[in-house]
């Protein structure tokens, strides 16, 4: 009985937390190369790609996610906005895979410029950016 009450409380609290989350203006967008045929991704697909559970785009092409460095505020915003997870949760997730030999976190680049460059030149990569770094070689992927 006590157990059920606790679970019920946790559930209620989480509902409240999601209700108050306002849909802020996009300060980080998901990008692919303009040569990449991908038009859109679901939140679940993006999550699977960034957590290493899926290594292909829905159309079957290989996908390699790229990260900004851990100190980048854009990175923190990307994970909390699109994956609903904090940086420490992401770190814990990759620790599970790394220390069991089952996977390694995405490679990182040190700046928005470097991210734009890498994604533009590699159609099988996916990245995220502050909109300031967008150019014609990149395409924003809307996430439903």
């Amino acid at each position: 009985m006590k157990r059920i009450t606790v679970i019920a409380w946790i559930y209620l609290l989480s509902l409240m937390a999601s209700a108050v989350r306002a849909d802020e203006a996009a300060r980080v967008v998901v990008v692919v190369s303009s040569q990449n045929p991908i038009k859109t991704l679901s939140r679940a697909q993006l999550t699977d790609i960034y957590l290493g559970r899926m290594n292909r785009f829905p159309n079957g092409n290989l996908v390699k996610p790229v990260d900004l460095s851990e100190s980048s505020p854009t990175r923190g915003e990307f994970y909390s906005r699109y994956l609903g997870r904090s940086q420490s949760q992401i770190k814990a997730h990759w620790s599970k895979l790394l220390f069991t030999g089952r996977g390694q976190p995405p490679p990182t680049v040190s700046s928005g410029d470097a991210m734009a460059e890498l994604v533009a030149e590699n159609p099988n990569t996916i990245g995220y950016l502050s909109p300031d770094f967008l150019d014609e070689r990149l395409r924003v992927v809307p996430i439903d």
């Binding site: 679970i7 904090s86 420490s88």
Partner: protein, 427 residues
């Protein structure tokens, strides 16, 4: 009692020789694969990572120890008021990406061992080859994935607790295997299903001359994930032999048919040790709840044990309070009438009585306890967390629960209060 300790020691001892053989075999495989594959030439790259925990535990039971596991020599309580031995661990890992499809890992772990040293031992040493992006095979040393977090249970930064619930995670005596495994993953309707199989062997040599052998280790597990939800199921089995116990059961066998029957029922020579477990987890990000149930079966003095736990927590930013309810109980008899003394000479009767008492001591020390833990995790800097946890153990009637190193003044049953604090890190 001494034999129980012998068994305990067996678990932690890590025989390196078998590992070396397996690593050599893996190296041969590597040469074959690279020669045959001749893939896109890529420069191999190596990465070095580590994890660790610095922690202390305090127990208010001063006649027995709360330890890292049943096979540790000591811990908090009788041996020390504040014990760093229970949770302290350091792991270092070298990962080699040899080609885009071939990866090798070597992970060495240092923590308190059966002989009270911190001599590092090989936890992982294998080569993984990706046949396709979703099908891989490995050869070398692997951790058995018996429970949901078995494989990374020593990486405390990756787990919600100070330590995995002992009521479930202490159920298997051998946690590694030297052999081969496969992992096959497929996607359907937003689900990801991962099927894994492991076959191997594990010889554990102990400096004092005794040894334990796990043979025909088979572990089959399946993980089904969709979004925040995970379902896990596993069946594991191996044949366990510990020659250390032979003299004890041979002594029973000297008492004719009755003694033979008792020895056959409880001895541990090559008998099958089986375990099945089910687990589930729901973690949408802000909060999580997870639970596991497992049943271990063996026709030996170790007996059959059922373990389960449920854990939940809520993340307030970088602060995560959590709570765990857990339970372990024997499923088989915890006592045996033993040899009947009727018609024995006084010397024989005395010997039979001593044997009966020793057997019942072994059967009676089966884990039977409930526990409740409340704790909080604080991710105070990148790559590290601080956890504090209070745990209340309610020991079953006549059972020492998970406590070891029991002193003459120890009274089974009752309750124990534990306080733990730890810093976990990864790099």
């Amino acid at each position: 009692m001494r034999m129980k300790i012998g068994f305990c020691k067996a678990h932690f001892a890590q025989g390196l020789m078998m590992g070396k053989l397996i690593i050599a075999a893996a190296a041969v495989m590597l040469v074959c694969v690279t020669a045959a594959g001749a893939q896109v030439t890529e420069t191999p790259n190596f990465s070095f990572n580590g994890f660790g925990t610095f922690g202390v535990v305090r127990s208010d039971e001063d006649q027995a120890d709360f330890a890292s596991n049943l096979f540790s020599p000591d811990g908090a309580g009788y041996t020390r008021d504040w014990s760093p031995e229970v949770d302290n661990v350091l792991g270092l890992q070298l990962t080699a990406n040899l080609t885009s499809r071939l990866t090798g890992i070597l992970q060495v772990v240092s923590k308190q061992r059966y002989d009270e040293t911190y001599t590092p031992f090989v936890e992982w040493a294998n080569l993984k080859f990706d046949i396709t992006p979703d099908l891989s095979v490995r050869a070398g040393r692997m951790v058995q994935q018996t429970f949901m977090v078995s494989e990374y249970r020593k990486v405390r930064y990756a787990t919600p607790w100070i330590r995995p619930p002992k009521e479930v995670y202490d159920m298997i005596p051998v946690t590694n295997a030297d052999g081969i495994d496969f992992s096959y993953r497929f996607h359907f309707d937003g689900f990801t299903n991962t099927l894994r199989g492991l076959y191997g062997t594990r010889d554990v040599n102990i400096p004092d001359g005794s040894e334990a052998n796990a043979r025909d280790v088979v572990v089959l597990s399946n993980t089904l994930e969709r979004g925040a939800a995970t379902l896990f199921a596993c069946y594991g089995s191996f044949r366990l032999t510990m020659k250390d116990f032979d003299p004890f059961f041979d002594a029973f066998r000297q008492f004719g048919e009755e003694g033979e029957a008792i020895a056959d029922r409880y001895d541990i020579g090559g008998k099958r040790f089986e375990i099945m477990s089910f687990g589930s987890r729901y973690d949408p990000g802000k909060w999580f709840v997870m639970g596991e149930w497992a049943l271990a079966k063996t026709r030996t003095f170790i007996g059959d044990i059922e373990g389960l736990y449920i854990t939940g927590g809520y993340r307030f930013g970088e602060v995560t309070p959590y709570m765990t309810l857990a339970r372990a109980r024997p499923y088989s008899d915890t006592s045996d009438p033993g040899l009947s003394l009727a018609g024995l000479s006084p010397e024989q009767a005395a010997q039979a009585e001593a044997l009966n008492a020793a057997l019942n001591e072994m059967l009676g020390s089966a884990t039977n306890q409930k526990s409740i833990s409340v704790g909080v995790r604080w991710d105070f800097i990148r790559n590290a967390d601080l956890k504090v946890q209070y745990q209340y153990l309610d020991l079953g009637d006549g059972s020492p629960g998970v406590l070891i190193n029991r002193q003459p003044g120890f009274e089974p049953g009752g309750s124990v209060n534990l306080f733990s604090a730890a810093i976990d890190f990864v790099f």
